[in-house]
Amino acid sequence: MIISYEHLEILRTAILYALCSAFFAFLWAPLLAKFLYKYKIQRHNDFDPTLAIGGSTSKKGTPIMGGLLVIITVALITFFFNWDRSYTWMPIGAMLLASVLGGLDDILNNVIGRKRRIRKIRHVLRLIRVHKDWKQRIWLTLTLPWTMFKRTSLWLGSHPGKGLHVHERLIMQFLTGAIAAWWIYFKLGEDWRQVHVPFDGFIDFGWLLIPIIILVVMLTANAVNFTDGMDGLAGGSLVITFSTLTLLSWMEGYDAITYLNATTTGALITYTYFNIKPARFQMGDVGSLGLGALLAINAIVVNQMLMLPLLGFIFYVEIATVIIQIAGRYVLGRKIFKMAPIHHHFELRGWSEEKTVMRFWFIHAAFVLLGLWVALF
């Protein structure tokens, strides 16, 4: 295969995007760090036991929301130099929406939030029977399904604290997925509905693609969110995934998406530089949810949705362990892992944070490589 000059030029430009993005992020990273330290946007120890594993207190006081470095860099560079209605609008829009959700959660959890509680269903049923105000009784009856949804969604979350509650997160993530699905299905034409099946051409899911995209976006955003629990883990793994996506989108001929992936890779390189232990700042939900959504959408856009389990291997392993842990808790009444996500399991088994992170990086790299190989068929 001979690569044409134009095609090679696109790769050169993409690499330039990555370098510029990394440089630009490097320029304003100190400003962000100063801002985060000044306003004490820090994770608090009182509801996060993972911060104290191994007796380490080094993470106490490290600011979160460092993911803004990537999100803002990518959004600005794409907006000024790579703004394409057909291609980059939607990924950036969905990424920003998911980031806003994550940012809101970060701020409520750590800065201005206060604890809110959700009434138990049994309590509401009792109020419906005994409340002295008949209007309240009707209101409580009418909103009972909503209360049940709120209450049952707590099964998926560990600590309903000061931040967004699980049902609020689910709704906002659903919205992000729905916007992406709507855009891909209705706005971008029939070619976009094709999903590449390795060794077997393409498959058209029809309208089923909509719920599938919503599910994949929600799952991936949360998966990256769970992975963001150790210094450098999410950042390093995302660098591997986004650089591979850059290559894939370049080979598939999606220029704007290639540039977007390259820009993200560049910004992530700078972010990970600052996030290496001891971290200057941590990603926070603002970065992990946004980048998770972006990862899912960019893979879907280049028709590689089926390759996501390999391209985002470590993220899906992390979320799978969380799901298994929750299932174990409710069904078997015991923990399958010492702690979920799985990186804390290994940490509790005595692995150092550095060992866990680096091993996870390279396991991830191996599976991403496998994903790249399979995707080429």
Binding site: N45, F47, P49, T50, A52, I53, G55, R329, Y330, V331, L332, G333, R334, K335, K338, M339
Partner: protein, 233 residues
């Protein structure tokens, strides 16, 4: 049967510090669908792991605590084992019949979570165990008391661990009133067989160097509506 588990419960290992597993019964707390370790049904390893996790969450360094302080931590966090839980881990029944599981969902839950659904009544059910006489008693048998105490509101089970020279040794998990809040737990005691032809209550019960009504285990046996020896089928 696994009698080694008694030692594991009596000596929970916290970085070399041996801690007696406290008594905890979920009856009053009514925790549902939670980890079994939070319902007084966890294994020794689960109790230790959960305590370590809770300590991390609260920023408490358990390594610096002595055995009594660690035990107090366990009691304060509802970590411990109840009598039927201990009996279950010692006797390890292969299959139990749960009389309260009447519909499909209940049956499924009991299949998935047998130990949380295992109570003294379940162990004493005729489909799970048969009654034996004192003369036939052997290690692995259970001394089951139904409706003990002044209010007859607590069932209890002792597991016979061995017999030598007419002395029955048993293990159980219980909190005596005289133990205070932090004193109860997995204990061992003995019943000296004075006369095999007499009833269990007429033998000499000794635990923690106490006998007669001072021995609260004996007092519970005395106040029980029913006191029988059972052997798992």
């Amino acid at each position: 049967m696994n009698f080694d588990t008694i030692k594991a419960f009596q000596e929970l290992d916290f970085w070399g510090t041996k801690v007696q597993c406290p008594y905890f019964i979920n009856k009053g707390n009514r925790v549902r669908a939670a980890l079994r370790v939070m319902c007084g049904k966890g294994t020794p390893e689960e109790i230790v792991d959960e305590a370590k996790t809770l300590a991390l969450r609260e920023g408490i360094n358990l390594k610096e605590k002595n055995a009594d302080e660690v035990k107090a931590f366990l009691v304060d966090h509802n970590l411990g084992i109840d009598c039927s839980g201990l009996a279950y881990y010692i006797l390890q029944p292969q299959k139990l019949f749960f009389p309260h599981a009447k519909n499909f969902l209940r049956k499924f839950i009991t299949k998935m979570r047998p130990i949380e659904n295992c109570s003294v009544e379940v162990l004493a059910h005729e489909k799970n165990s048969k009654t034996v006489s004192l003369s036939q008693l052997q290690p692995g048998d259970m001394i089951i008391m139904i409706g003990t105490g002044d209010d007859h509101d607590l069932n209890h089970v002792l597991v016979v661990t061995r017999e030598d020279n007419g002395i029955l040794h048993y293990a159980h998990s219980l909190q005596w009133k005289s133990d205070g809040k932090y004193g109860g737990g997995v204990k061992a005691g003995k019943i000296e067989i004075v006369d095999r032809n007499k009833t269990l209550l007429e033998q000499k019960w000794t635990e923690d160097s106490k006998s007669g009504d001072e021995n609260e285990t004996f007092w519970r046996a005395k106040t029980a509506h029913s006191l029988k020896i059972h052997r798992l089928l």
